[in-house]
């Protein structure tokens, strides 16, 4: 187990290193880096100062090492637009994104698991087929368009919910949260549904297939023969067995929901880090884009690492050391 964890940790570090090389060459080494690093409005003195400070007259490998060293210290450059460290700008937006993603994940479990259960139990009836057919719609609906249609229906036509922003927030340990006020909830509900929809479909289908499969298993047949009530079979025998894979997938989706929140945040003007990324792309604010990529990579690597290690710890069947070819 310790060996497995160490190996996985080493792999994770390697991925981070590889991304840093790719990002470095994409942004720093292709073209004239000074055009990308110094705002076009900067004075000649500022240009010279930056060239000297960043060591752009040095050979490439030394430049990369310097970049890596600064990145390790959390220095990924200053935003052209805001003039403050890029990494700080993103960290400031992080709680809004995390809040949105967590609400969306909760939503996909609360809605997806019961619907999937029904679809799996009644899969040859109209109800089950209807739910499964609906889930195809959940996969196919383009995320951004679905969000816009939500705005059209609930904000423009019905006027029930606000179309954008976070609403009233309450500070918890210095972090503003929307989910503690009624106004905040009215703002978060549409973006959360928008972000969760594809995930609801995923959880639903996983649950439905798991339930359908479990029903044919010996232990379920035995419980039924023993005279256990159907409700109890579903709760104690079927649901318990299928929850592990469902929860694992939900955990792994955490990373991709952060990526997809970019779209949701753009549609609903949710002030998270995804919206910041899109704004920075428009404003050619390269340091922020670079910082976002490095931070997002870091989050994915950490999430993947934790999920893998937890999975190995929970499921004894997972091979800790890959077999030789």
């Amino acid at each position: 187990m310790l060996l497995f964890t160490l190996r996985r940790l080493l792999q994770s570090l390697f991925v981070l290193l590889a991304v840093s090389v790719v990002v470095f060459f994409a942004v720093y080494a292709v073209g004239d880096p000074i055009e990308l690093l110094v705002s076009p409005e900067a004075t000649m003195e500022a240009r010279q100062a930056t060239i000297a400070r960043l060591g752009l007259d040095q050979p490439v490998w030394r430049q990369y090492l310097a970049f890596l060293w600064r990145a390790l210290q959390g220095d990924l450059g200053n935003s052209f637009v805001h003039g403050v460290p890029a990494i700080g700008l993103i960290l400031q937006r992080l709680p809004a994104t995390f809040e949105l993603v967590l609400v969306a994940i909760t939503l996909s479990c609360v809605v997806g698991i019961p619907l999937g259960l029904v679809a799996g139990l009644y899969r040859d009836r109209v109800l089950g087929r209807g739910i499964m057919a609906g889930s195809v719609l959940g996969f196919s609906l383009p995320n951004f368009w679905q969000g816009m249609m939500l705005i059209l229906l609930f904000a423009v036509w019905l006027g029930w919910l606000p179309a954008s922003g976070r609403g009233q927030t309450v500070d918890v340990l210095g972090v503003p949260l929307s989910i503690l006020t009624a106004d905040g909830w009215s703002h978060i509900v549409m973006p959360a549904i928008n972000l969760a929809l594809a995930n609801i479909a995923l959880v639903l289908r996983l649950t439905a297939t798991g339930v359908a499969e479990a029903q044919t298993q010996e232990y379920v047949k035995f419980a039924r023969a023993k005279g256990v009530r159907p409700g109890r079979i579903v709760r104690r025998h079927i649901l318990r067995n299928i929850l592990v894979p469902v929860v694992t997938v939900v955990g792994m989706e955490f990373g991709s929901l952060i990526a997809y929140s970019t779209i949701t945040e753009t549609v609903f003007a949710w002030p998270g880090m995804g919206k910041l990324l899109i704004d920075s792309v428009y404003q050619l604010d390269r340091p922020v884009v670079v910082a976002y990529v490095m931070l997002a990579t870091f989050i994915f690597v950490v999430v993947n690492f934790v999920v893998d290690v937890l999975y190995a710890a929970l499921d004894p069947r997972v091979q800790l050391v890959s077999p030789a070819h």
Binding site: F139, W145, A155, V281
Partner: protein, 306 residues
Amino acid sequence: MDRSTPDSHARTVAPLAETPRRAAILKRLRARPTVAGSACALVLLMAAILAAPLFAPQNPYDLANLNLLDGRLPPGSESMDGWVYLLGTDDQGRDMLSAILYGLRISLAVGLTAVALATAIGSVAGLVAAYAGGWIDTVLMRIVDFILGFPTILVALVLLAVMGRGVDKVILALVLVQWANYARIMRSRALQERRKEYIEAAANLGYPAWRIIAFHLLPNCMGPVLVFATIQIATAIALEATLSFLGVGVPVTEPSLGLLIATGFQYLLSGDYWISMFPGIALLLLILAINVVGDRLREALDPRRA
């Protein structure tokens, strides 16, 4: 008929032997009304896309055709010249129906090109990895793992943020994020095949590696990759639409469905729903039809269900 030699006899028998299987696949496909519906929708959409210039009321790219006074008219309005805008107009006074028909062409063209290139590159990589083994396999598969470790939307977004917008760049970004999927599928299929005797026989005949890969391994591994590619067309189209909506995709001179929806977004809050709603419905129908047909195709071709 009388001239039938044993040879030509054998040739007529071969397709006959295949028919029951083909019939069974078609029967399984036909048995589902949703599939029939989706297939019809797909055929209709394709026809509309191909024939767009013939019956679209307007050429949406021809600025001489556009009348700014006709801007943002609701569906069913009459134009300055007296004909009717069935689906309304956008802010430039462009007929939405025509814009959608032309937009579908761009969306589909980008999706198909990207999938074709990604399939080709991914297949070659997968075949080479499986056939060569050793360090080539290891290096290629580590690259694949690396790419698939990140959400496609994020990788594509960042690539385009660095490269800038453009049809060619969108296609390049789509290929870069998708080829790894094909490489992985092709490799696992090819690993099963390459142990078989006909590959060994070909190797013993002294054929060069490229010939064995291209003429022996590839034809026998293509099935699952092609089915996967069908469904990936829908994914590629959705991804392109999303990137264009975010403003890093196709340029305004070549408006795909995603860009049309993005234009409508500015006017959504003032209630001009048609500019973004109708292109979205067209996009949804296209994706849904491809998904349903592709999904059933996969089921029908699955040997375990035969």
